[in-house]
Structures are given as C-alpha cells and as structure tokens.
C-alpha cells in the first residue's frame, strides 16, 4: 500500500513537472518555431518597400513617411494578431527607424541630406525584411 503511494507521488511529481515544463516551455518554443509563408505579410512587406523606394526627399517628408508608417503599422498589427513572433522581432528595428523619422518630420521637416540617408537605411532594412518574409517556406 505504501509502495503504491510512493509510486503515485513520484508519478504525480513527474507528471506535474512535465505539465509545468510544457506550459512554461510553450512561449519559449513558440519563440523558436519559424513562421511560414503568408500572403498578407508578403503583400505588406512589398507595400512597405514600395513606399520607401517612392520617397522623394525634395518633397515634404511628413506625408510620405506617414504612408510608410501606415504600411508598417498594418504589418505589425496583423503579425500581432497572428502571433508570428519572428516577423515581429524582424520588423522591430525598422519600425523604430520609421517612427523616429515620422516623429521628427511631424514636428519640423528634417534636412534633405538627413532624408536621403534615412532613405538609404530604410532601403537596406526594407530589402532585408522583404527577402526574409517572402523567402519563408
């Protein structure tokens, strides 16, 4: 009788450990699993890239950056709802670059040289993001 109790306790502890491991491991595992092809995300990254390439630094910056920001926000909201964490991690640095540009442009137009450099950075970032998102299996 006592042996059974010990065995039950051991089994219980092992099961509980497994459940806890599974539960606590869920978020970690989900962080590691790569996301797969998604039509909407693929479209969104091209919209972002196109709006970056269309940026004309001789024209007012704010309305143009607002378009880039809008496309970026759409991708982030969609990825949050779909819980594709790798895409969210991927676009986070670019989102910060866009937000800084947007905030500055809304207060006062930056210099043309600043805009040109920002465009070069965003060109590199959006190219990398587009290849990574569209290159998924």
């Amino acid at each position: 009788m006592r042996k059974i109790t010990v065995q039950s306790t051991v089994t219980g502890v092992v099961l509980l450990s497994l459940i806890l491991l599974t539960l606590t491991g869920c978020s970690t595992i989900k962080d590691k699993i790569p996301s797969f092809w998604d039509d909407n995300q693929s479209r969104a990254v091209i919209d972002i890239r196109q709006s970056v390439l269309d940026l004309d630094c001789k024209q007012p910056h704010a309305p143009q950056v607002a378009v880039i920001k809008k496309h970026m926000d759409w991708l982030i909201i969609y990825s949050q709802v779909k819980d594709t964490r790798d895409v969210l991690r991927l676009v986070k640095p670019m989102n910060e670059t866009v937000n800084d540009f947007y905030d500055r442009s809304m207060v006062k137009q930056g210099s043309e040289a600043y805009c040109n450099m920002k465009k070069k950075v965003l060109d590199a970032q959006s190219g990398t993001v587009a290849k990574a998102v569209i290159g998924r299996f």
Binding site: T97, R104, V129, A132, F137
Partner: protein, 76 residues
C-alpha cells in the same frame, strides 16, 4: 575611422555597404549638412540595421532547417 575605411573595402557586400554609409554620415555631419540630433539618430539606425540583419539570418537558417526536415520526411 581607419577601421571604417578598411571595412568599406570588405569583400562582404553588406559590410562594405554599412561602412560606406557610416563614412557618408560622418562626412555629411562634418560638412554641417545634418544636425547633431540627426547624426545621432542615423547612427542608431545603422545599429538597428545590424540587429535586423541578425534576425533575418536567424529566420533564413530556420527556414532552411524546416525545408531540410521536410525533405527528409518526403524520403521516408
């Protein structure tokens, strides 16, 4: 600075491109084409771009892994 000039000649395109951007930034700041605030922000952007590249590499590696495993599953 001399490090940046060396890196700008790197045979890895992304390294050369990043170093050239940093050099351009430095030159424009020295000429007064961009303000201190703008300069600081753009340097931060270069660091962010490196972080982004790292995430993209990670995604690419994982995609290749999934593809390889899927290939194995097809064989069985």
């Amino acid at each position: 600075m001399s490090d940046l000039y060396q890196l700008a000649q790197s045979d890895k395109p992304w390294v050369a491109q990043r170093a050239q951007l940093a050099l351009q930034l430095q030159e424009q700041h020295a000429r007064g084409d961009i303000t201190n605030d703008e300069y600081k922000e753009l340097l931060e952007d270069l660091v962010r771009t490196d972080v982004l590249d790292s995430e993209a590499d990670d995604m690419h590696t994982k995609t290749m892994l999934v593809y390889a495993i899927y290939g194995l599953a097809q064989i069985v």
